[in-house]
Symmetry: C2
Subunit: 420 residues, 2 copies
Amino acid sequence: MTESVLDYMTRLGRAAREASRVTARATTAQKNNALLAAARALDAARAALLAANEQDLANGRTNGLDAALLDRLALTPARIDGMIEGLRQVASLPDPVGAIRDMSYRPSGIQVGKMRVPLGVIGIIYESRPNVTIDAASLCLKSGNATILRGGSEAIHSNRAVATCIQQGLAEAGLPPACVQVVETTDRAAVGALIAMPEFVDVIVPRGGKGLIERISRDARVPVIKHLDGICHVYVAAHAELDKAQRVAFNAKCHRYGICGAMETLLVDQCVAAEFLPKMAAQFRDKGVELRGCARTRAIVADVLEATEEDWHTEYLAAILSIRVVDGLDQAIEHINHYGSHHTDAIVTEHQGQARRFLAEVDSSSVMLNAPTCFADGFEYGLGAEIGISTDKLHARGPVGLEGLTCEKYVVIGDGHVRG
Amino acid sequence: MTESVLDYMTRLGRAAREASRVTARATTAQKNNALLAAARALDAARAALLAANEQDLANGRTNGLDAALLDRLALTPARIDGMIEGLRQVASLPDPVGAIRDMSYRPSGIQVGKMRVPLGVIGIIYESRPNVTIDAASLCLKSGNATILRGGSEAIHSNRAVATCIQQGLAEAGLPPACVQVVETTDRAAVGALIAMPEFVDVIVPRGGKGLIERISRDARVPVIKHLDGICHVYVAAHAELDKAQRVAFNAKCHRYGICGAMETLLVDQCVAAEFLPKMAAQFRDKGVELRGCARTRAIVADVLEATEEDWHTEYLAAILSIRVVDGLDQAIEHINHYGSHHTDAIVTEHQGQARRFLAEVDSSSVMLNAPTCFADGFEYGLGAEIGISTDKLHARGPVGLEGLTCEKYVVIGDGHVRG
């Protein structure tokens, strides 16, 4: 095309801003109709989706993508089922838009409250997995936002095919095509343009590796909802029931090694370490988890590698676990707030006072009591779906669902009252 | 001193981060004690405060500060009363920290809810007015945050004297001095350092002119809660009661010209323009407000200057008003969303359907019905006090009080449940 990438992105941005006025005032029924029609369109387009995906996979194999990347890229009948099911689930969620809370009279006579409203235009930048196209588009639409989706170039044919189904859904519901736009160029300059249009884009959600997210956060001229490290801890406290602690810690590490909520460091109170650690270590070893411990851990369990300062800072996302014996609650909280990534941290204890302090004082997006850190997930939390897990403190913190894609404005109602 | 500004600010930052752990777990009583003790200290230090302020005023006169700036800088007995009263009001506000909401059971057996917690360390950058030192410190402390305050160099003696009183309050309540730190150097590099320490500072709140705020937003490496333009509108709709409309519009413009909630553009529905505008214009002219209008306005009211495209974009903060006659609700909403600054906009109407649409579709931090835009204010909204008015969409929107200085984290409680 003769149009520059910048002109192209500006055109998408302007169209998205206009469409966001329409999505903001669309009725719940209209939004749900679009989602359900898109689900039907996906179901009808299975052959086309698989064919488009096969093109991407063939290109990927030619370009030497590794097995893990190819797997993430692949659409299967089951994954198409998942996308369809996801659309139906989002349609069934309550609509957050328009809810008014805390409306009360002020001494001046005016009533003041807050109304939940969409953010406006949301830019999503992601890699590989074509199902993100559906997840992101459906959550943004349901929350009344327009979306610009910029997927990885390796998934361009799959994303286009998915986008066609979304467009069909929008059309059936009488919504303009610009409510959901998929960036059609694979030129990298499109990302640079997307993150630098504050007049058209209200927030960027990058989904992908840490490198991508750091780069986007650094260069963006619009707010970014970001998800960086998940260095999660389980602290087995003095008053833990040890069988419960073992169950929780094992699940926290081994449910899946590669998720951000996986435990990376196990903290064990010195009061229970001698009793707890040998059994726990044996279970991890049976599972093939490499253990790295502090001196006190190594004095209790033989053949544990020495954990270095570096280990306490590391998100392994693998079958490796660091273990530290701590003096008590204070040291556990201090360790977590210092070395952790403020993502998700758990205590196992039956002691109410210690639990209360841990939950209040650990500065993480999720704090847990007698539950494994791997529960940190939008579906598990009842958000219906998540667009990502935020490690930011401002705006959305933790799994981000529909509410995180909205904000609140003040509503003031008077009857000709004036300020004195 | 031999310490570099960067080293000095890093030292403040580290101390603030440590103190933030203490403020986060401080009890409501302890925080209130500190606020009330600071109020007593201010009351006892009136002579010292006025003497320190006189030093700043003398320097200001020597340096040729204009009358408006000198006025903002001046402490008077009444302004000291105001600071004392402010501290007592903040002490009397409910403590937002620790509130848990929406705790519910999930199918897995875990309970999930949200707990309100402090942001951590808040950096405040402001100009001239010494009372900001008290406003900011008290709101940040009550919401469980540590604060670093960087006031204008022209107010350094006043701010130090105020800080002494705050320190006395902290000491009486047993809280560490680093809970509230006033930057002691007037070196401008201190600002650059403060906004680039994401490891120590969680959010920056700049209070001052647009230039200051834009510069800080551009350079900051931490999130900024910012307040830019207030281009506010009142739309007198077809079904407005015109006497009510006139009262509201007059108050919106004339309560105070210099506040961000002052009306800058009046939109009048074509159905009522001929009846409404002549009386309204006469009242504004009696008050000395200069009127600039569109062609239709000028056809109704004689001697109105022609409004240019530039006028619709302008925040006058002065006795100037632009007036446009619009075709109806759609054009009014379009004008506001296009030319406005998404701050505060009002409709005057008795028509329920039109009011509902205006409140939902105008994309501003405050939307008002039959009330003047000048009500946009933390005290008027019942926040008790405000640290500023946010024109951002993410996190806090509109007047920012205690809640805007906190965030929510997820709390998950199980009893040894695991993820399947």
